[in-house]
Every structure is written in C-alpha cells, then in structure tokens.
Amino acid sequence: MKIPPRAASRYANALLSLARESDALTAVSADIAQIRAAVEQSGELARFLDNPMLPQETRRRALQTLFQSRVHPLTWNLLMVLASKRRLPLLPAICAVFQSIEEAGRGIVRGTMTAALPAAADAVSSMADQVGQRFGKTVLLSSRTDPALLGGCRVQVGDIVYDCSLAARLRLAKQSLAGG
C-alpha cells in the first residue's frame, strides 16, 4: 500500500481542470488510460521513467517517438513538463490519481470483490449494482480470489468493507462466544 505523493495529485488536478476547460476530457482520459496500461505492461517503460541517469535530451527524444503522435497536445505538454522538471517517476501515480478523480466526477467508484472461489462475471456485476445502490453511485468491482475466506465473499469500496465471508462469520461467532 502506497499513498500517492502529494505532487502527483497536484499535477493530476491541474491536468484535469485544463482538460475540462479545453473540452478535451475524453481524449485526455483516453491518453492517460493508455499510458497507465503501457507502464503496467512494459517493465522497460517503467524503468525508463524511473531512471534519473538519462540525459534530458535522450529522455525527451524517447518520449517523442513513443507518445507525441499518439496523444492529445495537453497530455504531451504534461509529459514535457514532467521531463523538464525531472518528475517523470511520478507519471504512473499521476495517471492513477487522474483516473480516480475523473471517475469520481462521473459518480464512479472502484472496489474489489474477493471471493473464496473465482466468481462468475454476472455475479460480480450484480453485486456491483447492489452495492452501487447503497452508495448512490456506479460501482466498478474488480474480482479477486482468496481461499482464506473459506466461503462467501467480501466487497471493499473505498474504506468500507461488506464482509459476508465464512471467515468473518467465524470470527464474529468466536467473539460473541468469548464475550459471553
């Protein structure tokens, strides 16, 4: 668990409001999603961003060939600003923060559903609908498996956990027996 650095949220907020002003939110969000996916998939790109030894010029040229033609000018400007200020290691964090605040603006929250066995896709989406109704928001759930739950499932959205797993029930039963 890592808290995104404060600088990351500053850059992300700035980019978001710029994108809104120039009506380029869709394009910029698509860019950001694309960059995030690229960094997650390619370890090489992540290492390149983190490497402080590369000269300024090399870094700029590499970014140019990778992104310039594929992204919106605003996104490209962000990359250039980061490169010149030696803030490129922040890029993945900026992308994550950007996505979460952009989604929050549209009433979307992300969460995870953990189950003992792999859950069917429709089970996950119906769970997401139900939890979404409670929150009054659209909930996107990613699915995970954890045999330690023994049975049932656990849904976490933000800081709130709905735990209806067998493991939690056993823990509660133990507490109520011990507490008399």
């Binding site: 668990m1 709130i160 709905y162 735990d163 039963a173």
Partner: protein, 505 residues
Amino acid sequence: MSVDLRPEEIASILKKQIGAFEAKIEVSEVGTVLNIGDGIARVHGLAGIMAGELVTFDRGDVTGLVLNLEEDNVGIAIFGEDSSVKEGDTVRRTGRIAAVPVGDGLAGRIVDALGRPIDGGAAIQATETRKIELKAPGIIDRADVREPLQTGIKVIDALTPIGRGQRELIIGDRKTGKTSLAIDTILNQRGENVLCFYVAIGQKRSTVVQVCEILKRNGAMEYTTVIAATASDPAPMQFLAPYSGCAMAEYVRDTGRHALIVFDDLTKQAQAYRQLSLLLRRPPGREAFPGDVFYLHSRLLERAAKLSPARGGGSLTALPIVETQANDISAYIPTNVISITDGQIFLETDAFNAGQRPAINPGISVSRVGGDAQLKAMKQTAGSLRLDLAQYRELAGFSQFASDMDAATRRQLDRGRRLMEIMKQDVHVTIPVAKQVAIIFAGTQGYLDNIPVTKVRQFEAGLFEALDREPAEYLNLFNRDKAMTPDVKAALETVLKRLSVKSRT
C-alpha cells in the same frame, strides 16, 4: 470462583448462543497499516475516523487509540505488543471511545490502564463503563472545599491541611518519601468512607507490588484500587492510566461519595506523552515536551472537585506527585503542575537525610483552599505553630555564627527545635487528629520546653498512651466539640501537667 459447571449446561448455553447468532453481514470501515514502529502505527484509509476513537488490528488482536488525523494518514498509538502488527495489515474502526469499567467491583483490585484486571483475579464485575476522557464538572456543579481530608500526618494536617475535593501536589526529589506520604494518606482513610485510587505510572513492577503489600498489610486494600501502568508497559498505557484512574474515581464522586486519587507520578506521564508526541511528529517545545503538555495535566486535575449538594455532594481529592531533579522546581513540569494545583507539599533531600521525616519544608509548602476545611481545634492550635517554625528557621540560620545569644533568642531556638521534633513521624503510622492536636498544643504552649530535645518523641509516645489509657475524657470531649473549648483545653492540660511532672522526676 469454583462453581461447578456441568458439561450439559455448557452445551446448552453454547447452543443458545450459536442459535441466536445471526448470519449478518459485517460492515466495517478499514484502513491499511503504512508503517509501524515504536508503538505508533500510521494508517491509510479510515476516512471517517474520529480522534480518540479505538481501532482494532486484525492481526495480533491488539487495539489502538487514534491520536493524529492528517490529510492522508492517521497516527495511532498501540496498546500492547506492536511487533505482531505488520505493514499492510488491516485496521478496523470500532466506533467506540476508550472507556473503563467503573463501580464497586473495582475496590481491592489491581487493574491496567484499560481497566483489565492484572492481579490474577476474576473478571471485574462492572455495572457500567465510563469514557476515559470526560470533561470536568462545571462551575454550577461545584461547591467550595470545606470538609477536611485527614492525612494522619501531623505536619500536613497542621500546616498544609487538605480538603475533600482539593488538589494538593506532593513534590520533591527521588527518595524523599513522596510515595510514603501518599500511601499513609490512603492508610488513614480506613473507616472514613473514602474510596482510594492509586495510579502507578512508569514505576517498577516491584515497587507496585511493595505498595500493594503495604496496603494489604494495613487493611487498606479493601477500599483501594491500584491502576498500574509500569515502566515496561507501552507509552500509550502510561499516558492513559491517570485518565482511566480518574474515570473510575469520578464514578465514586458522582454517586455522592468521597474518593481520593493519587497520581504517582505525573512526571512519568508527561514523559510518556512526550514520547508519543515526538513519535507522532508533533513539534517539540520546552524540554522537548509538546505544546499541550499543560493541558494534559490541567484537564486531568480539573476533574478533582467537590460537588454541590444538588449533584450529590460527592468529592474527588487528587494528590498528584511530581519528581524534581536536584530540587529544581522551576523545571517545566513542576511549574506547570504547581500552578494547576491548590497548593503543594515540598519534600527535601537535606531534611530527609538529617532525619527530619517526613522531610517536608513547612516554609514553602502551602495549601490554598484547605484552610477552610481544617478542623476548628487544629486551626486554633496550629495557628502559632507556623509562625514559631518560621521564626525558628530564620534564627537557626543566624545562630550557626553567633556564639552567645540573649535569652529570648535562645528560648525561641529551643522552642523551634522541639517543634521540629514533634513534626517527625514514623512511616505508615498515622495519628488521629485528636492526638495530633494534643501534641501540637503541648509544643506551642511550652509543655515541652523543659524536656530535652532527644526525649521529645518519647514524651509524645507517653502522651498518646496516656490519652488512650487514662479516663478518655479529652478524646471524648474533642470528638464531640471538634474545637478547643475551655472544657477540652482543661482536660488536655490536666494530662499534660501530670506527664510533664512525671518526666521531670
């Protein structure tokens, strides 16, 4: 407790509990441990948490107390072993504020800062729980201090009397008898309907055992609760112990009874709080204590109060103890606590080593409100004592250089020496107020002037014996009038005259 439980009974109880256990969804608010160390955890998440709330850590079955709320994390002090908690662990809100069990089931028990028994006895039978941090009673709820709390120590009851609901600081270097004074005061509450609470903060476990032994041996444990956060307990427990003890004592106060609480000692509590604050990265101030260390003690001691008749008329008397280094009362914590309390009792190493025990310095010890609570008889008798002692101290300094003195000066010195002698008292031997008045009366009225200084204590013992043995006229009259009426005076003078004749021959 050796109640026989039949297996079938256990089975039926369990069946009932399991049957009643609903399969409900557990909803909780969680966070993740970012880092942990030195008893402090930083946690991400827990967005809705409140300062002062309790949290539980999933692993290790430990609880924590939320102290810092920051923009992106929460600072939590851990009660218990922090080595079982790891980075990335889940932390859960409980929605509860720290509370301790209160009630009469606590008398005679030794508990920790969270009210859990540590004397190996049964679980505490508590009727209710109380929040550890409560606001002190307001102005309307209070009455002024007017009943005495007899300590059974001559020099205190005569010169710095303590009233019920007062806060009297006991201050001095190490090994000057601070704890003994407090323990003696607890011992003297036997049969006085005062429930006592002894909070041991940052002490050695062996010392706490010793204190409990003394209390037990003198039959004081049955009305005393010991709250122990020893040196090996984590800092949060040492920080919290005085507040828990106070919450337990407040219950007594609010049910219209009288309570006495001893904080031994607040220096250690301030040090524990300093440790917590520095680890939480709060800015250090003077002596590296945090800025709110004054409030730490003022909000605690403000809870000692005498309640108005409308609120039941109960009282909570506090005897905080502060340890000084090399008699330096201008250090940060001593000055703070001196200014909070209603008076202080100074103990000095020099006096202690010179055999003047209790080693109280009567010159700078004061009681700001206790005078109103002093028994009339004591007030009438001890009035001249303070003056005599002050004059003696002044002269004693000069007389070291002077070879010959006029008769008046010598008389004053002689009187002073004898008065200092009757201020001496053995440890754990408390004296009822009637006898205290008798010996002080003897001293200030000159009945001791013809007795050698070394024989004064012998005379005192003889006097106490005589008062008990001979037709107990004086004691009866005193306990009826509580003042030095001519009758009481005459009865006492008869005994004194007979004794002083006897001692001369």
